[in-house]
């Protein structure tokens, strides 16, 4: 049984310079009546392995899209490294170069090779002529090969993306994101369709890269077990609201919102969110 400690509520200390993502009272809506997110407050420290857990339709994917500027909130404020995410904002557009985003469907280009898919992560560093002729500089190709070795794809450079297995496709998507030299890595249910062995391989890979590159990894899951196993922090989202945020350090779970609870109760609250 994991120990639960009472703490102050430190998640809203917005003055700290170490906060890479800050959201205060964020609402998003698809139309004027239906809200996907209802008053979300989040604050994520640099270098955290952060997990967002919730059922489908809870608004967790929307949360990721707010963090890379693909969506704009209808109300509330978001700061990513103290910049408001918006694709029309030049400063943020430059930041997007180093925000890795892996959508649930991965977004690979199926008719091109593995290495070409990965090199896409380096596109912002290319000039117009190089990118028009698909002429990647030698050091970028070497970097792509180094990352391929890191994620276990060596020797599959020329394979077309559509030929790969589910696990391999995820490795390509991770490699493409790492190619961006990211400071933030966003991943949407990246292991949800994999068997548990492959899922752990992929999670270990990300955890490894996260530590090595001091990334802020924000991963959406619907499996609480997996989230607790890998993340330092877990936020549970239910019907567009954050109902729980816990910190995980070794065997200790620290609850930031409701105070003293057992692991069973936490899992139970999560089960409630399924209904």
């Amino acid at each position: 049984m994991k120990q639960i400690q009472m703490t102050q509520n430190p998640s809203f200390s917005l003055i700290s310079t170490n906060k890479i993502i800050q959201m205060s009272d964020v609402w998003t809506s698809y139309d004027s009546k239906n809200f996907a997110l209802e008053g979300i407050n989040l604050s994520i420290d640099r270098g955290t392995n952060y997990a967002i857990v919730g059922q489908s339709g809870s608004g967790k994917s929307t949360l990721l899209k707010l963090m890379n500027g693909m969506m704009i909130p209808s109300k509330g404020a978001i700061k990513i490294d103290y910049v408001t995410p918006n694709m029309n904002n030049k400063k943020f557009k430059k930041m997007m170069h180093t925000i890795g985003y892996i959508p649930q469907s991965l977004g690979l280009i199926k008719n091109i090779s593995v290495i070409e898919n990965i090199l896409i992560g380096a596109l912002p560093r290319l000039n117009k002529v190089q990118s028009f002729f698909k002429k990647f500089p030698e050091h970028e190709i070497n970097e792509a090969k180094r990352i391929m070795a890191l994620v276990g794809l060596s020797g599959k450079e020329e394979r077309k993306a559509y030929m790969l297995s589910g696990g391999e496709k995820r490795r390509v998507a991770i490699a493409r994101a790492l190619m961006q030299k990211p400071t933030i890595l966003l991943a949407d249910e990246i292991v949800s369709e994999l068997d548990s062995v492959t899922a752990r391989e992929i999670m270990n890979l990300i955890a490894d890269a996260q530590k090595r590159m001091n990334l802020t990894a924000i991963m959406v899951h619907h499996d609480m077990q997996l989230a607790l196993e890998y993340a330092n922090r877990v936020a549970v989202i239910k019907e567009g609201q954050k109902i729980l945020e816990i910190g995980v350090e070794g065997d200790t779970i620290v609850d930031f919102q409701t105070g003293n609870m057992t692991t069973e109760e936490i899992m139970g609250m999560y089960d409630d969110s399924k209904k």
Binding site: M96, S105, G107, L108, K110, G121, L123, M163
Partner: protein, 261 residues
């Protein structure tokens, strides 16, 4: 069969009869004309093999015209299709480009051929220009439709990196729509060979020029040689394009496993 269906079928048959009367389409005349067909066929059967080299050369010329027309037409169509795709442009860009493409498609290639014969004179060049125009209109339409059906996930994933629009087109749109493009180019070439074969009717070169002239002078035997060459060529091109399609397109579109070295 419901009574409603019977009424619909009855109305259609009545309309066919009325329209036939209006356009003088009399089945009796067709029956009376059958012996004439026998005469034509008989004359056609007396083929003159010495025209085979000429026919083959004319066919080769026709294929070259279709080839230039397809390649140049596709090259012009591609940038236009990028501009006409709704998922890449604002309304102010795609609407006028689509209107232009629709206008180009309004005319069949034979009308374009007449126009270009007036512009550049009789001969193969007018035919090539006609094929180019026709190809532009159709390939651009087929291609912008292909671009619009591209999966939005790779587009979102890559644009979230903050790449430029040109990079998005170069690295996502073109590869994702490439298999459609190859299929369309093959179809278009196939179609253009058949089109070019009749452009000679209006003096725009190609094998059709021989066919129409021999028919005009009742030399059905000579015309038959040329028509036979067209038939064989079209069947052959059709067969080759089916092979190419099977090899390169079907697999990549369905994501089938293929063996690699």
């Amino acid at each position: 069969m419901t009574p409603k269906n019977n009424i619909v079928i009855g109305i259609i048959i009545a309309l066919v009869v009325v329209a036939s009367y209006n356009v003088d389409a009399n089945p009796l005349e067709f029956a009376e004309g059958l012996p004439n067909l026998a005469i034509v066929v008989e004359e056609m059967l007396s083929v003159e093999p010495k025209y085979i080299p000429t026919a083959l050369w004319a066919m080769f010329e026709t294929i070259q015209m279709a080839f230039i027309g397809t390649v140049v037409g596709t090259a012009i169509a591609l940038p236009l299709s990028m501009l006409a795709a709704r998922n890449l442009n604002s309304k102010y860009v795609y609407a006028p480009v689509r209107a232009l493409l629709a206008a180009i498609r309004t005319f069949p290639s034979i009308l374009w051929a007449i126009l270009f014969v007036i512009m550049v004179g009789l001969g193969t060049f007018a035919g090539v220009l006609a094929i180019v125009m026709y190809t532009v209109g159709f390939v651009a339409k087929l291609q912008y439709e292909a671009i619009e059906t591209i999966d939005s996930d790779p587009m979102d994933a890559v644009s979230s990196i903050g790449v430029s629009k040109w990079q998005l087109i170069r690295y996502v749109v073109i590869p994702e729509s490439a298999s459609h493009l190859l299929s369309q180019i093959l179809y278009m070439f196939d179609y253009n060979v058949r089109q070019t074969s009749i452009l000679g009717l209006v003096g725009a070169g190609g094998i059709g020029f021989y066919i129409i002239n021999y028919i005009k002078f009742f030399e059905y035997g000579k015309a038959a040689i040329f028509m036979l060459v067209v038939l064989v060529t079209v069947l052959f091109i059709d067969w080759v394009s089916v092979k190419i399609r099977d090899k390169y397109i079907v697999k990549s579109q369905h994501g089938m496993e293929v063996t690699t070295k």
